[in-house]
Symmetry: C2
Subunit: 362 residues, 2 copies
DNA sequence: TGCACTTTGGCAACACTGTTGTCAAAGTGG
DNA sequence: CCACTTTGACAACAGTGTTGCCAAAGTGCA
C-alpha cells in the first residue's frame, strides 16, 4: 500500500481517544449513568484526568449529571450520563427494491424512520435523487435537535469502504466504479460513510454486546457475513472480507454461480427453495461452525429475509450444531440469536457507521 | 469480559507509540536507513517531533546515523538506521520431539541457535528443566551484546496467550492447565511470552511483508493456521483462532478425530499418507481459497514438515486454485509461497513475540 | 563566480495533555 | 460527636507534539 506505518498520534488524537473511551462507557451504561471514579477505574485514567475530560464533554453538551449514587462510605458519587439528543446521525439502506432511512440519536436509538420503493437498477442519477429525497424528507419530518454528524450508507457489496466506491454489484453492472460516497456527500452536503449491508449490521453487534468477536450471518438473496473481530468490524484491505457464502463445504457438490462446486450459499439456498428449512439450518450451522472454529467467535447473530421470515428453525439448527461442536472441543458456549429489530438491523447499523468514531469503534 | 473499554492512553503511551512507529520504519528500511523528513512524512508527525523522538532513541543506543543521502535541492538529509545489536531476544520452540532456541537481534536476524532432542511427554518439571538448560546454553555460547528483552515461546496449541497457560495439547494431557509462561519466567528471570507455533510463524509475516492480511498454513502432524489481519496477529479472545484444519469441506466425508465429518485436515492428511501430494495440495487449496474469500487475505505462506519436505507441488497447487478463484471474482492476485527459512520460521517468529511491542506490532 | 533558492535539522517558546499535591465538601460508622 | 473515607475541584507540574525562527549546506541559474 502506501508503505505508511500507521498514523502517528499527537495530543489531539490522544484527547479524542480518551474522550471516546469515556463516551463509550457512558453510552453502554445507558440511563443509569456512571460515576467519575468508576470511569477512572474502567479506563485506567486518573480520577483527575476523568474530571477534566468529563468537564469538557459536559461543556459540549454531550453528557449531563444524572443524580447521586448511594455513598460507599464517603461523599456520594455523582452519576454522569450521555445526552442522547446532543447529536444525531442518519442511516440509509439501499436495497434491491427498497430504500430506508432512519434518524438515530447518540445512543443509537431510532428517532424517525422512512422507507420507500426503490429501483437499484435505475440509472445512477435517478437512484441517487430518490435516495437523497428520502433523506431530505426524513429530516423535514423530524428536525434533528442536536448537530447532524453525517450519513451512513449500507449497500449490497462488493464495494470499497475506504474510497466509498461501489464495485460490480451482482445484477447491477451500471454501478461498477460509481463513487457513491462522494456523490451523496455532494448532494447532501454532509459527511457520508459507505459500507456493506452486512458490515453495517455487524457494527450494531459491537455496540449491543460485550462480545469481543461476533459474526452476523445474512441469508437473503445471497449469503454473506459481517465480522466483528477483537471489538472492531473487520473489513479486510479491500472491504471484501465476509464472503461467507462461497466457502466450499461439499467437494463434489453442485456448481455455484461463482464457478466453484459445493458452495455453502448454493446448497443453502437450494434447501430454502425446496422448503427444507431444517436442512438449510443444518448447512448454515456447518458454515457457522467452520467460522467459529477458525475465528474463535463468541456470538453469532442471524438475519436476512429468509431467516426473519421464520427464525426459529434457523436459530435452533445453528445453535445446536455449534453447541455440539463446542462441547466436543470443550470450548465455552457460543450464543446464537436472531438479530434484534430484524428488519432494522442494517439501517440502524448504517447510522452507527457515523457514530462509531465518537466512541472509538469501527 | 472485564467490561473495560480498552486502555486509556496517557502521555507515556503516546511516546511509546510514536517511538515504536519510528522504530518500525527504521527496521523495515534495513541497512540503508531512512531520513528524518521521510520519517515525518510516513508517520504524519511534524519534522520537529521526529527530531525529538530520534534524538531520544539515539540516546538509548537504538539507532545511529548512516551517512548522508544525495541532496534533493538543499541540505542533504542524514540517514538514520536501526542498531540491531542494541537489544536481543530469545525464541524458544517446544516441539513434540525437539526443542530449539535462537538468539535474534532487533532486526530479527538470528545471531545464534541451538536445538536438542526433547520429550514433550515427559513430566513438566523435567521438560521445563531441559528447555531452560537449552536457553542458558544458548546464552553462554553467544553473550547478547545489548540488553536481553525476554523469551518468546512457541508451543503446539491449544493454549492461552493472555495468561500463558497451556491447555489440552493433543496426546499430552499432563500439560493441561500448566502455567508455562510464569514457570519459565521464574526459572529464567526474564519476561516470557507464550503463543501457538502457528501464531509465532505468522508474526514473522507481519514483519516480512507489507501485506495487510496474511495467513500461515502449517501442515505437520495436524493442519493449523496463523492469521495476520489488519497488520496484527489475530488470536481471538481465547487464542483459539486459526483452527483451519477442522473446517468441513465434504459434508459426507470420512469421520475426523474432532467428531465432525469431512474435515479438511482428515482429508488432507489422508492424501499425504497415500503419497498423493497433488490431491493434498488441491484440498489445501480449497481450504485456502475459503480462507482468502472469507478474510480478504493478501498473502498465503505454507510451512510445516509435510510441506517443507517437498514444497513445490503444494505451492503450485494452492497458488493455482486461489489464482483461478481470484480471476473469476476479478480480485487482485494473492501471493502464495513457502515460508522463508522454513524450519526456522516458528522459532524466529517466537523471538519476535518479544520484539513486537517495540515496533507496535503484535 | 556569485547569488537566490531550497531543504535539513536544531533551539526556544508555546499550547495542550494527563499527573501529582492539596484541600473542602459530604457522606458513613463506631 | 468524631474519626474516617470518598468525591471532586483547584493549582502547580512534567512531558508531549507544535510553531516560529535560524544557521548550515546543498542545488541551479544568471
Amino acid at each position: 500500500m502506501s508503505g505508511a506505518a500507521g498514523p502517528g498520534a499527537n495530543l489531539t488524537a490522544l484527547r479524542s481517544h480518551n474522550a471516546a473511551l469515556v463516551l463509550r462507557l457512558l453510552r453502554d451504561a445507558g440511563e443509569d449513568g456512571v460515576s467519575r471514579p468508576e470511569l477512572a477505574g474502567r479506563t485506567g485514567l486518573t480520577p483527575q484526568a476523568v474530571s477534566k475530560i468529563t468537564a469538557r464533554l459536559r461543556a459540549e453538551g454531550l453528557l449531563a449529571e444524572a443524580g447521586q449514587r448511594a455513598s460507599t462510605g464517603g461523599k456520594p458519587p455523582t452519576a454522569l450520563r450521555l445526552v442522547p439528543d446532543a447529536r444525531h446521525a442518519i442511516g440509509l439502506q439501499l436495497d434491491r427494491d427498497e430504500v430506508t432511512a432512519v434518524l438515530v440519536d447518540l445512543a443509537g436509538t431510532s428517532v424517525a424512520a422512512r422507507s420507500a420503493p426503490f429501483d437499484f437498477g435505475a440509472p445512477a442519477e435517478e437512484a441517487l435523487a430518490a435516495a437523497t429525497a428520502e433523506v431530505r424528507a426524513l429530516l423535514a419530518d423530524a428536525a434533528a435537535g442536536g448537530g447532524l454528524l453525517g450519513v451512513g450508507v449500507a449497500a449490497p457489496g462488493p464495494l470499497d469502504h475506504g474510497s466509498g466506491v461501489l464495485h460490480r454489484v451482482t445484477g447491477f453492472p451500471q454501478w461498477d466504479g460509481f463513487p457513491l460516497r462522494d456523490a451523496l456527500a455532494d448532494l447532501l452536503a454532509l459527511p457520508v460513510v459507505l459500507d456493506k449491508d452486512t458490515n453495517a449490521a455487524a457494527l450494531g453487534l459491537v455496540t449491543a454486546g460485550t462480545a469481543e468477536s461476533a459474526a452476523y450471518l445474512h441469508l437473503g438473496t445471497g449469503l454473506g457475513a459481517g465480522l466483528v473481530l477483537g471489538g472492531d468490524v473487520y473489513r479486510g484491505a479491500r472491504t471484501d472480507a465476509g464472503e461467507f457464502g462461497h466457502q466450499v463445504i461439499q467437494l463434489d457438490g453442485p456448481p455455484c454461480d461463482c464457478g466453484n462446486n459445493g458452495c455453502l450459499e448454493a446448497l443453502c439456498l437450494a434447501a430454502v427453495a425446496r422448503g427444507d428449512r431444517t436442512d438449510a439450518a443444518r448447512l448454515l450451522g456447518i458454515g457457522a461452525t467452520n467460522l467459529v472454529r477458525l475465528l474463535d467467535i463468541d456470538r453469532v447473530l442471524l438475519g436476512g429475509r429468509m431467516v426473519l421470515a421464520d427464525p426459529e428453525p434457523y436459530v435452533r439448527g445453528v445453535a445446536t450444531m455449534i453447541a455440539e461442536d463446542s462441547a466436543r472441543a470443550s470450548r465455552p458456549p457460543v450464543s446464537v440469536d436472531v438479530v434484534e429489530r430484524g428488519e432494522r438491523a442494517v439501517v440502524e447499523g448504517a447510522a452507527r457507521l457515523v457514530l462509531a468514531p465518537l466512541f472509538a469503534l469501527g
